[in-house]
Symmetry: C2
Subunit: 420 residues, 2 copies
């Protein structure tokens, strides 16, 4: 008789490698059929559990699961749906346990960021309290790299590589045109309140000063005068300058720089990004020709330029999550532990979810250069190994062959529906 | 005694593969030292000739020139500087001839788009008239793919591949989040007045209908009502939709859609892209959550995801340009001639510059689907081979190894300066 079934779900913003972690979970579980019966995935994340919309991953071929290792996005669907405290979300937690009980689910693998770590922890605690204990393991994922304890987060290395490569390429483009055309290029990147992704723009230069790059971190309050002076100095020296700006940069009043109260000709409010705002500041103050880009989803979906280190780590945390469950661990998260920088060596550690949930790891001050516009040697040492190695998807007719799963639904066992 | 020297210059917006054409010119010239002495490159394009700022490409090693084949941007510098008619720009043309005479330059290889073809033609005509005949050969380059006669333009295949891959990746990202988050993703692409790059977004789906994609071409006047109906239908059917919008899309009055008279809270005019405008229309009319991206320079600098077909053709036109010069041709351009679709076969042809200069090739009506928002099977057949094959640059420590040339200046021979 096989062991209890497992439930796997993808949560929050997806990444170029979250499916790699899914493959790590599923392939490892398949090797332990005595202890783990079926692996069910939530269709659209935790919503799939709440609505009893489970996907039987057993219906997917070994090659389809293997192909997840080179497929971006969330193959089972993800969601932005936060479960709050037991008091506030009691019906949701009770429903989760009902569904898990109905489908004999004893393992809960939740693949997400900080909010998901919190949910994962609560599922563990509440299932215990409700008499149907579930081993809940959090599988770390976030492009923002803002989870504590783990040295880095799967998903980050690939977006960092994308931003580093794109900034290098676009900077070279601008350099060749600067004599008569664009002198300042502004690239807006993700990262919410943490500047990790913006910092990756600093890797566009092999060493400080190779390319003129000015970084705007959310950790540093925007100072218009200092910023303009920095850009002006770079343009005078190099003839051009690239600005990498984090979406989360705020002005002195604590208001997002992107929030400029833009209105169209009819007075309608318009939502813009921060890149055009920064570009307009450059134009207003220095009257230089500029271009700007907003990478948005392109950066976190770019499996075509994923970091091999990141791919390897994403798989390792998925695999380790299952192994931890098999060893009886509960309310934990596999973490990445850095063993050495040169050569870069890492191992899997285990973090207590109590210490992970709801904490946000921002860039330490020691990673930001004294002027506030660049990365330090220490930061470079931290970032460099994370983008190392290429891991190309297979191509057919010039296009990457990304897999689309069958996603066969598991027959429902509960009567009635649950409104989310 | 070696033959006359050659002058090579890069013109207009650079691409992921313009340096491949430079390598084609230089490597081929180096094989014919009896006929072609030195190859001088203009620093920052034609400005380098006007200011007698020539780069001696002979000072670059064979491996540096070979590395141009995997290096994006314009390695010698490019410029946006249009020479007008002989009447309007006589001093410029006379100066060019003076510089060419001083440096014994008998070959003029001009690597650019439509405007450059015109300049190239004029240099040929005027040098003849001024008694120092120059063989002027135009080397085609433009991401916009808008040159006539040639089946496609080097530079386009790679940007098309970038847009097709990025649209596929971002669409999969949106698909996995659409249940609770973003339902419409808008990607702004280049292309000026021609919709070729936007059309490449259609390749994100292997066949029509695989992925819900709505394309806004500059060739089709924007119709707000029809557009919203199309997006609405796609979202209802698929749960989400991607919109690929060309920067050059115009509304019924002939005004660019991007020109919305945006003003910030202080009433200052703000320059925005067309992607946020389209996203705001979606929000206003359908109240759907959206994200938008502006690829800008990232798309045309993305050597990391270049098309092998494009790389091969970019090299071939550079090589052919030299060979045509050696055969005594003048005022011509190597073109790409499509021999067959399946299998895709192409050859180098020769186009008369009179027929190339100042003409813009837009998307034919037969390439745009009847509803105006997609590509036809015929268009797909045209585009598909152009993105075929991968041509990765070498990497070191996770970053592409792009070459930076020495760019040693040729000693000046003329007294006096020339103000551009």
């Amino acid at each position: 008789m096989p062991g209890k079934n497992a439930f796997y779900a993808q949560s929050g913003g997806v990444t170029a490698v979250i499916n790699v972690s899914a493959a790590g979970v599923i392939e490892t579980a398949r090797k332990h059929k005595k202890q783990i019966g079926k692996v069910y995935a939530g269709r659209n994340g935790i919503i799939g559990a709440l609505t009893e919309d489970l996907i039987d991953t057993g219906k997917e071929s070994a090659s389809a699961i293997a192909a997840l290792k080179h497929t971006p996005s969330g193959a089972f669907g993800s969601c932005r749906y936060k479960l709050k405290s037991l008091e506030e979300s009691r019906p949701q937690y009770e429903r989760l346990i009902d569904v898990f009980r109905a489908h004999n689910i004893g393992y809960f693998f939740y693949n997400g960021g900080g909010d998901s770590a919190d949910t994962c922890l609560k599922v563990s605690q509440i299932s215990e309290a409700m008499g149907f204990p579930i081993q809940a393991i959090h599988v770390p994922k976030t492009v923002d790299n803002d989870l504590p304890i783990t040295d880095c987060c799967p998903g980050f290395g690939s977006v960092a590589k994308y931003i580093a490569v794109s900034t290098r390429e676009a900077s070279m483009d601008v350099a060749s045109m600067a004599k008569t055309s664009t002198k300042v290029f502004v690239l807006e990147v993700m990262g919410r309140h943490a500047g990790w992704i913006a910092a990756a723009g600093g890797l566009a230069a092999d060493k400080e000063g190779d390319l003129p790059i000015v970084i705007l971190f959310p950790e540093v309050t925007f100072n218009r005068k200092k910023f303009i002076a920095r850009v002006d100095a770079k343009v005078r020296k190099h003839g051009y300058c690239s600005v990498v700006v984090s979406e989360g940069v705020k002005g002195p009043g604590g208001k997002f720089l992107s929030d400029q109260g833009l209105r169209d000709a009819f007075g309608h409010a318009q939502l813009g990004g921060v890149a055009p705002v920064v570009a307009n500041i450059v134009k207003e103050e220095l009257d230089l020709k500029y271009h700007w880009s907003v990478a948005d989803y392109l950066q976190r979906a770019a499996r075509h330029i994923a970091s091999k280190t990141d791919v390897d780590q994403a798989y390792a945390v998925g695999k380790a999550a299952v192994e931890m469950a098999l060893k009886g661990h509960n309310a934990v998260m596999p973490s990445i532990v850095r063993k050495s920088n040169t050569p870069y060596r890492w191992a899997i550690g285990m973090a207590d979810l109590e210490k992970v949930a709801n904490k946000e790891k921002k860039m330490p001050a020691s990673f930001i250069s004294r002027d506030g516009f660049g990365i330090t040697a220490k930061c470079r040492q931290y970032l460099a190994p994370l983008i190392k190695g290429e891991s190309y998807p297979p191509y057919r007719n010039g296009m990457p062959r990304y897999v689309v799963l069958k996603k066969v639904a598991v027959p429902k066992k509960l009567s009635g529906t649950f409104n989310i």
